[in-house]
Amino acid sequence: MNKENRTIILYVAVLCIILIGCLTLTVFVVPSFFQESTRIVTMIIWIALTIIFIPIENDHTRFKGKKEKIKTTLIIVIIYYILYFLLGLVLGYKKSPYGRSFFVIIKNLFYIVGLIAMQDYVRTKVMNNQRKKLNYILFTFIFVLLRLDYSEGIAVFSSGEKIFEYFASVIMPEIAKGCVCSYLAISGGVGLVYAYSIPVALFQVLSPVFPDLDWFLKSIFDILISLILFLYNNYEHTIKTTRMTRKEKKKINPVKKIPAIFALLFVAAFIAGFLPAKPVAIMSYSMVPTFSRGAVVISVKTNQKDLEKLKVGDILHYKSENGEVIHRIVEIQKDEDGNLLFKTQGDNNGSADSKLVEEEQVIRKNKNVCAILRLSISMV
């Protein structure tokens, strides 16, 4: 990197600090005042950064097999979104919060797609002027920080569950996206990064509906696409830059990793509850000594027949106003219409739960089998 570029990078570092400071101010100091104006300030800073970077030449400007990599990336992104969208046919859809009028769409294209385009342009320029691995990691980390969602503020740290959710649904996907974008920037330049980030941003702004995925599944999908993109682009890059025999090429073909990806999806589906059973973490002491806090139990889905077979002493997994509960049935009643009502109690609680559990609250029946499948994992 020449001296001029180093000076510019220094200016950029200062601007990034201002940007992070601005975001921090928005969240921790005066949230309501800065919310609207932060958007404009952020845009202005990124426009300034983009203009600063335009004259900077990449240290290595030739990207071997760039067109092929762009096509591969586009194919993966489109297939991903087709599958993602089709999932809604099973899980239902949610309406996009973005307005659909022409003016609003243009505004969103500018604020969302435009911002991402500028961020990735600057990312490419920064990445392609580095030589040390440590610098790649450092700048990838900075870009992850810049894209993170800080809007939850300190509420993220209110409980162990919240911290885990924030880590799994925001930080992990953002790190995966950041890493793959940096890799694409290095191996194919801005065009290759855009082949990934722009269709994703366009989908976010233009799609009228989204599949009704919970945060866990959404983050698995986000991480998965980053992983697949990395595998395929790395393959394209390796066969373009290294002399290899057909056998060697075959050996590193990412198609071979498809079973591992399916295994990952299967695990994700199991954890997310798409299979007849799912793991549930016990978060309180109410079922001690049957289930200690931090234990993971396997909860089995019920149907109407299963519900009718439930008896006193069975363990029930149900939804209450305060979240999901796993307690033992101590009494079974019926309402005027013949619907079952369950009185439940935690094994470690002195009295029964105040509210009766209705049929539709029951998620899964927790048979004694779960005691056998119980894992001793300390989650919290």
């Binding site: 949230p31 309501s32 005042f33 919310q35 609207e36 932060t38 958007r39 092929e68 096509k71 591969t72 586009l74 194919i75 489109i78 297939i79 979104y81 087709i82 969208f85 809604g88 239902g92 859809y93 949610k94 309406k95 996009s96 919060p97 973005y98 307005g99 659909r100 009028s101 003016f103 609003v104 969103n108 969302i112 969602d149 809007s151 976010q204 009228p208 509906v209 989204f210 009704d212 106003e321």
Partner: protein, 170 residues
């Protein structure tokens, strides 16, 4: 190598056609799709319930304290005689950076048509009510037992799920 390149072009073309086909399919079948509420896809979009409290009560008493989560507000009220009313004030806040407007209030008509018809719900929310970034708004939900009701219905309770649908404002 050239065969591989042309294969990719063909795959890309087919996929783009599939996307166009899906867009057309969506436009034609959007009415049949199950759409549950508004997606929380962006950190900039954060409309949430921040409080619920009792308002004016006339011949009514709360069975349990009203409670709320970020997307639901719950109350359980006993109406003591015909003509009794209970009001609950639900505070909705826009904690995102996008201005929002209320596009519809769902569930009120179906709740009011359901038995017992003498118990009705109303809310002072109107379509196109705007909720700017950082703003909060109090909505009053009123439950009324019709004063002209002469007989006590068999069903003594009535549940309503009222949904406020917001969208980005211009």
């Amino acid at each position: 190598m050239s065969t591989r390149k042309s294969n990719k072009n063909i795959i890309l073309l087919i996929l783009l056609l599939v996307v166009v086909g899906m867009a057309v399919g969506y436009a034609a079948l959007s009415q049949a799709l199950v759409i549950n509420g508004t997606a929380n896809i962006t950190a900039e979009w954060k409309i949430m319930i921040t409080d619920i409290k009792e308002g004016q009560m006339s011949g009514a008493e709360s069975k349990t304290s009203p409670s709320y989560t970020s997307t639901t507000a719950t109350f359980d009220v006993n109406l003591l005689y015909p003509g009794a009313t209970a009001q609950y004030v639900v505070t909705v806040a826009n904690q995102g950076s996008i201005n929002a407007k209320l596009i519809s209030v769902d569930g009120l008509d179906s709740a009011n048509k359901a038995a017992p018809s003498d118990i009705t719900y109303s809310i002072n929310a109107k379509s196109d009510d705007t909720l700017g970034s950082g703003d909060t708004k109090d909505y009053i939900i009123t439950v009324t037992w019709n004063a002209d009701a002469t007989e006590l219905t068999q069903t003594k309770s009535k549940t309503a799920t009222i949904t406020l649908n917001y969208e980005q404002a211009e």
